[in-house]
């Protein structure tokens, strides 16, 4: 293991190198670019033995990855924002075909208006495409998710593609000290990819076929069931990860001082760090507050969230996303979890950070204050809207 000073993109690329993908197909887009540049360097200097395929679009990046996965090898691609949207057809294709491709998505705003900075509207708009979706908070977690994602996606009971999300610029371009594991450790953690979901010259296969009304939904049910089976596999993967690397992750969610908290801020990605800092400050002032970071949006931690907030007086959901005409998508999912559990905990949605707009200390303090006082259901940080 070596300590290195890496950006989120670089850390992720370092993790991918350790995962030994056989085929990497990617198309450049800010702020993902550094990942594919580093992987190209690694292929050039021989530290990554993979085919790097210079595809002519994101659509082809995923199409190529699906083809390589159907050939039976570990594959990687990366994108962001418009590129992810351009791939959208391929997302449902990969998940429907149960191809355990890993993709890094640099969370970035979607046009119009054009904007290259971070928000989570790109991946959240594609939440229903059948991909496992994880959100990293820091560069170390990003690197670790590069390895964990393959373990989980390729697990025989799961066989589902995996999207690791890194907040654009705030994580992709911020340098931190990162533990980079040795290849021998990575190899001890991550088994070689072996699958029957691929071409076979002894028993030829017809793959990615059509299924009519009688059978189609059975395939869709199986897709759903496999995604739910990822929950225990995530635990299994994290336990093994802790054994090999000495870092223990916490499954679908990560809680901070929620046990006795009256008010809990639920969020995802890098903003969780600042949220915890503010929680500490408010705790020092005698307020019982906590933070719940969603690590996985799919499979969704329905039970885990309900369990964590069951004794709270109110919860806030802070997200860099809006489903126009409704509310933030994370909020909708969270309130559904509360309802499913029969919890009558007031929940307030705070939308912020769209197009990379800063979310300040004061903003988060205000979120906690409004949550305590009670406010309207959907709030836009820094914009006064009538209830």
């Amino acid at each position: 293991m070596s300590k290195q000073y890496l950006s989120g993109d670089e850390a992720f690329a370092a993790g991918i190198r350790l995962a030994r993908p056989e085929v990497v197909s990617a198309y450049p887009i800010t702020p993902q670019t550094i990942v594919v540049e580093r992987l190209s360097d690694m292929v050039e200097d021989g530290s990554l033995d993979a085919e790097f395929i210079h595809v002519e679009s994101e659509h082809s990046a995923l199409s190529c990855a699906i083809g390589a996965s159907a050939a039976g090898v570990r594959t990687f691609t990366a994108t962001s924002s418009q590129g992810l949207l351009y791939m959208a057809e391929g997302l449902v294709y990969a998940s429907g075909g149960r191809f355990p491709i890993v993709m890094m998505n640099a969370n970035r705003s979607t046009a119009l208006p054009w904007n290259i900075y971070g928000d989570q509207r790109d991946s959240l708009a594609l939440l229903d495409t059948g991909w496992i979706q994880a959100y990293a908070e820091n560069a170390q977690e990003a690197l670790d998710l590069a390895l964990l994602s393959y373990y989980i996606a390729e697990h025989k009971t799961v066989s589902t593609p995996f999207m690791v999300n890194l907040d654009g610029f705030i994580l992709t371009h911020t340098y931190e000290e990162v533990d980079v594991p040795e290849q021998s450790q990575a190899d001890a953690f991550l088994p070689k990819y072996e699958t029957e979901n691929c071409f076979d010259f002894d028993k030829p296969k017809n793959m990615a076929f059509s299924a009519g009304p009688d059978t189609n939904y059975i395939f869709k049910f199986k897709e759903h069931a496999a995604m739910r089976r990822a929950i225990p596999v995530i635990q299994e993967a994290e336990a093994k990860f802790a054994e090999v690397f000495g870092r223990q992750y916490t499954g679908l969610i990560d809680t901070y001082k929620t046990e006795d908290a009256d008010y809990i801020l639920i969020t995802l990605g890098t903003i969780a760090g600042l949220s915890r800092e503010i929680a500490d400050k408010l705790r020092a002032e005698g307020k019982k507050v906590g933070v719940l970071r969603i690590r996985y949006l799919r499979p969704f931690p329905t039970d885990e969230i309900a369990q964590a907030v069951r004794n709270a007086k109110a919860v806030a959901v802070l997200e860099k996303d809006i489903s126009f005409g409704a509310a933030g998508t994370v909020f909708t999912n969270v309130t559904s979890a509360l309802q499913t559990a029969g919890l009558n905990v007031p929940a307030y949605n705070f939308i912020g950070g769209l197009g990379g707009r800063n979310i300040s200390h004061a903003d988060i303090e205000e979120i906690f204050a409004k949550t305590e006082q009670g406010t309207q259901r959907v709030n836009f940080i820094g914009i006064e809207v009538e209830a």
Binding site: V23, V55, S63, G67, M207, S210, G212
Partner: protein, 298 residues
């Protein structure tokens, strides 16, 4: 040794499918797979052949095969080829079978990318001159004057206003190692081009005319005749591009009647004498260009 009806592989690799009677596309796929054999890995985008061949649980390829996204035939071929090579498998041919729309329209970007990368793939475009799977809509390879459901023939507009996209030369302009045109009407020529392509490393492309009786408005028994006639009357040509040079494989001394070819098909029934004159003029221009610029042999 050239491929003939006598030495053609008697095994079938594409059967039990739901293609219409007289389908030229299914003939092209079936025949090409006989040349490529059991180690062909076929990639087919959305289109007629995937629609008729992959209906779970009735799966119709005896070799490995997969449906790609509509725009993704070539990019999936790239991934399949790279993935199998990484597994240490060497004895295979990644082959795409895409229709005219899947190739010349929605798939042309991915095709261009794969040729540009020099990927070791064979791409076969079976051209029935419209989006037949969705019910006969105009594609970039629909010829001038053809009636389709999106280029209706009325008193104001006589079917498709645009000429057929020059796909063969667009592909050749990439300096591809091998490209060829063919027609299922001259099957041995097509099969020997597939055989030749198989032996060449890098991207290979074959554009084969494959009539669709339903879309063309001809009897199902006339597929082969129409596929011969299109070449005989000069509205199609048999050619190759190799080592940077175009070669015309067949240079008819005299063309058969364009008018007879067109009049036999319901999609051209509405054409006026003036329309047909335009078609003949454009044919003559094309052949003047071919004969003065390409290597001609026979």
């Amino acid at each position: 040794m050239s491929i003939t009806a006598k030495n053609l592989d008697q095994n079938e690799y594409f059967f039990g499918h739901k293609a219409c009677a007289g389908c030229g596309g299914s003939l092209a796929v079936r025949a090409a797979l006989k040349v490529l054999g059991e180690h062909a890995v076929a990639v087919l985008p959305a289109g007629c052949m995937s629609a008729v061949g992959f209906n779970f649980p009735q799966l119709c390829f005896a070799n490995n095969a997969i449906i790609s996204m509509f725009a993704g035939t070539a990019s999936m071929l790239t991934g399949v080829e790279a993935g199998l090579r990484r597994r240490g498998i060497t004895d295979f041919q990644a082959v795409g079978f895409a229709g005219d729309g899947g190739t010349a329209d929605i798939g042309i970007q991915a095709l261009s990318g794969a040729i540009d990368r020099g990927d070791n793939i064979l791409y076969i475009c079976y051209d029935n001159e419209a989006y037949m799977n969705t019910g006969i809509q105009k594609s970039g390879l629909t010829p001038f004057g053809a009636k389709t459901t999106t280029t209706p023939a009325g008193s104001n507009i006589h079917g498709n206003l645009r000429p057929k996209k020059n796909l063969f030369e667009i592909v050749a302009a990439h300096d591809i190692p091998y490209a060829a045109t063919a027609t299922v009407g001259y099957l041995p020529d097509f099969l020997n081009k597939v055989e030749k392509a198989k032996s060449i490393k890098g991207p290979k492309f074959i554009h084969v005319i494959a009539p669709c009786p339903t879309g063309w408005g001809i009897p199902v028994s006339d597929t082969i005749e129409a596929a011969k006639e299109i070449a005989d009357c000069g509205l199609w040509y048999l050619a190759e591009y190799e080592n940077g040079r175009f070669t015309l494989n067949r240079d008819p001394k005299e063309f058969t009647s364009v008018e007879d070819y067109l009049r036999r098909q319901a999609r051209f029934k509405h054409l006026t004498d003036d329309d047909i004159r335009v078609i003949i003029e454009s044919r003559d221009q094309k052949w003047a260009h071919i004969r003065s610029n390409w290597n001609t042999k026979e």
